[in-house]
Amino acid sequence: MTNKKKIIAMLLAGGQGSRLGVLTKTRAKPAVPYGGKYKIIDFPLSNCTNSGIDTVGVLTQYQPLELNSYISTGAPWDLDSNTGGVFILPPYLKAERGEWYSGTANAIYQNSFFIDKFDPDYVLVLSGDHIYKMDYNAMLKFHIKTEASATIAVIEVPIEDASRFGIMNTDKQSRIVDFEEKPAKPRSNLASMGVYIFNWPVLRAELSCDEEDPNSDHDFGKNIIPKMLSADMRLMAYRFTGYWKDVGTIGSLWEANMDLLDRPEEINLRDRNWRIYSRNPIKPAHYIADNARVVNSALTDGCNVCGHVEHSMLFNSVTVEKGAVVRDSILMPGVRVEAGARLNKCIVSFGTIIGKHVRAGADVEGECRYSNTRLCQDGITVFERGLKIRDGAVVPGNCMVEFLEPDEIVEAHFRV
């Protein structure tokens, strides 16, 4: 065996992230832009490469095109290697039958053959839903030292939030005694981060066994972990301290971006020993004009600011024209905010043009056809990619603006 690996990573990137509304209409959740120049998936991928893991399978299912072209050869993360690298693993037809990934465990099960090719001792299972920097190698050392069958990374969360997570109850040696998925009355505040290390032979057997069970949801949290616990296997909790954020909702995505402005030291994207890599745009440095004002904000290459930007995150090639005011907002690549427009707590997706003197966001009262308080709260308004918002339009907070037909708000829709 020439290509044996000690550990390989399997990254579950097939999730839809339906609570992100129009942001995940044409892309999977891990491809959602974050932090001015990243996508969510840059974090687990960079963690892998920084942890010395050179083989990563990325399991895709929902809207994979953007993710596929983004990851491509894996070169931005140094994962274009001869003996390993990054592999996109969509579901595929097999001899007798073919099927979609029916759960997180089933997705790994269907790729057992891929994993076996590398004959790994350990498999690291990751999700592409979280913003965090973590040394998986340290976790692996812990896993080996404690002779565990599986190790689950956990983080302390405020006890009042604990019922939103999968909660681990452990003994004094950090051995997991009990696992509860979203418990109504949590007994501990150690939440699973969705980061697992398994001994591959153990996991392989468990997955095969789970596959036979018609009542199983084929899910790690719901089925595999409880089953291993009931079989009295040695499952350890690996405590992680540091910044960790689920960005599954519009509110948490907005917050996670604002964290970079308010508490940049917490995730520290400037740490040169633990860089977060991404596919960089080919654009010149950004330009701040005379009379522009940029406060408490983050800007990226190619931006052109002539207006007022306050407490906002600007991705590459965003234009803010003269007299425009952008507050508490996230503007994705290529967005143009035209003269005199005012945005407050808006998330604007790729290439959308906010027309002249538009008023949008949290400080605009009222409702409109795009109001969507199920997904948008706290006044955050989201614009789909490639819209032209009519000059002078008024868009209240808590809206999810997408293209239905031209109306008094949306003038047109174009491909970006």
């Binding site: 400037r270 977060i276 960089n280 080919i282 010149p284 440095a285 950004h286 701040i288 408490n296």
Partner: protein
């Protein structure tokens, strides 16, 4: 886009020195415009024209150039066939001791091995953004031996100025370097097009005379024996000849027209990626008319300046009319006006440095002031 031509960039120029800036590196590797090296522009022009085979002749101090170019992947020049070739001096046991290393042996092999019809040769001190396809076609149609790009800058932007005297048909009849009385305002842009076979002949001819000096100017000097035609370049073109022109070229990017033509005309300028985080602006900053790159932390005052990647401008610092290169740290209360800071400089609190437009203060790489 198929173009039957290969590229050659001359990383050094005997007559061009940029003091502290060229002390640690070749001319082509001098940082420019926030996130680029000078060579990025010509290299991108070639790549945007569909040229897939580019040689870079480097004579000395080419470590930083090699770091920058790597395998050429940033320019899509990491090809199985052709791609990027760095051509350093060919040192063998015979010329090890001598100062004039054999620059041409390596290049000759490069031209023999890659069978394109034409070669575009460029100095690296000119900066413009355009494809070269049209000029190669015009060269082919004209039947000239050599075509040279020029513009009408005359003696503007200082020496070395190669002034071309041309007849009505566009043939070069006179070549003057830094003339007292220029015959015209046509000034060579340092870009020539000729057939690969002619180039090999000329190089062999040079070598047989023991002449190892290879430059665009040495080709132009053959205007008596060869038919050399001028082709005018009408777009924005910046020349970097010395520190003042480096400074004024940078500052001209702050003008909208120059900025638009060099960066936003539709042709990307490629460079090596650094994976810096977005630039962060603090609560107290004042920024106007400036370029700022990724990875910066801006808390002070900035006006009319070019700031490269990873620079920190602390609170109460004031930077005006300056060029601040990668990873410089500017402490609190510093005041800079007309200053060029090379990479990794640290300016201690309260320091004041003031230069003049024609004589900016230049602080060398890694200095602690």
């Amino acid at each position: 886009m198929f173009i039957n031509a290969m590229g050659l960039i001359l990383a050094d120029h005997k007559r061009i020195q940029l003091g502290e800036l060229s002390r640690p590196r070749a001319l082509a590797a001098i940082p420019f415009a926030g996130r680029y090296r000078i060579i990025d522009f010509m290299l991108s022009n070639m790549v945007n024209s569909g040229i897939t085979c580019v040689g870079v002749i480097a004579q000395q101090k080419y470590k930083s150039l090699m770091d920058h170019l790597g395998t050429g992947s940033s320019w899509d020049l990491d090809r199985k066939n052709q791609g990027l070739s760095l051509l350093p001096p060919y040192i063998n046991s015979l010329n090890l001791e001598s100062s004039d290393n054999d620059n041409l042996s390596g290049s000759l092999d490069f031209f023999r091995a890659n069978r394109f019809r034409y070669v575009v040769i460029a100095n690296s001190n000119v900066i413009f953004n355009a494809t070269l396809n049209d000029y190669v076609s015009r060269h082919e149609e004209s039947g000239a031996d050599i075509s040279v790009l020029y513009n009408r800058d005359g003696l503007k932007s200082g020496p070395p100025a190669v002034i071309l005297g041309m007849d009505r048909k566009g043939s070069v009849k006179d070549v003057m370097i830094n003339p007292q009385k220029p015959v015209s305002n046509r000034r060579s842009a340092g870009v020539v097009i000729l057939s690969r076979e002619l180039l090999i002949d000329l190089l062999n001819d040079n070598a047989s005379r023991g002449d190892n000096d290879f430059s665009v100017e040495s080709l132009l000097r053959r205007y008596m024996e060869l038919r050399i035609c001028g082709i005018e370049y009408k777009g924005t073109l910046l020349r970097i000849n010395d520190i003042p022109t480096y400074f004024s070229s940078t500052m001209s990017l702050l003008e909208e027209k120059t900025r638009r033509e060099l960066f936003w005309a539709g042709l990307p300028v490629y460079t090596k990626v650094k994976d810096e985080a977005p630039a962060l602006y603090g609560p107290q900053n004042q920024v106007s008319n400036s370029f700022i790159s990724d990875g910066c932390v801006i808390n002070g005052t900035l006006a009319d300046s070019m700031v490269f990647r990873g620079v920190t401008v602390s609170a109460h610092a004031k930077v005006t009319n300056s060029i601040v290169m990668q990873d410089v740290y500017i402490s609190e209360g510093v005041e800079l006006d007309h200053v060029i800071l090379d990479k990794n400089c640290v300016i201690r609190p309260g320091i004041k440095l003031v230069g003049q437009k024609d004589f900016p203060v230049v602080i060398g790489k890694g200095a602690i002031v």
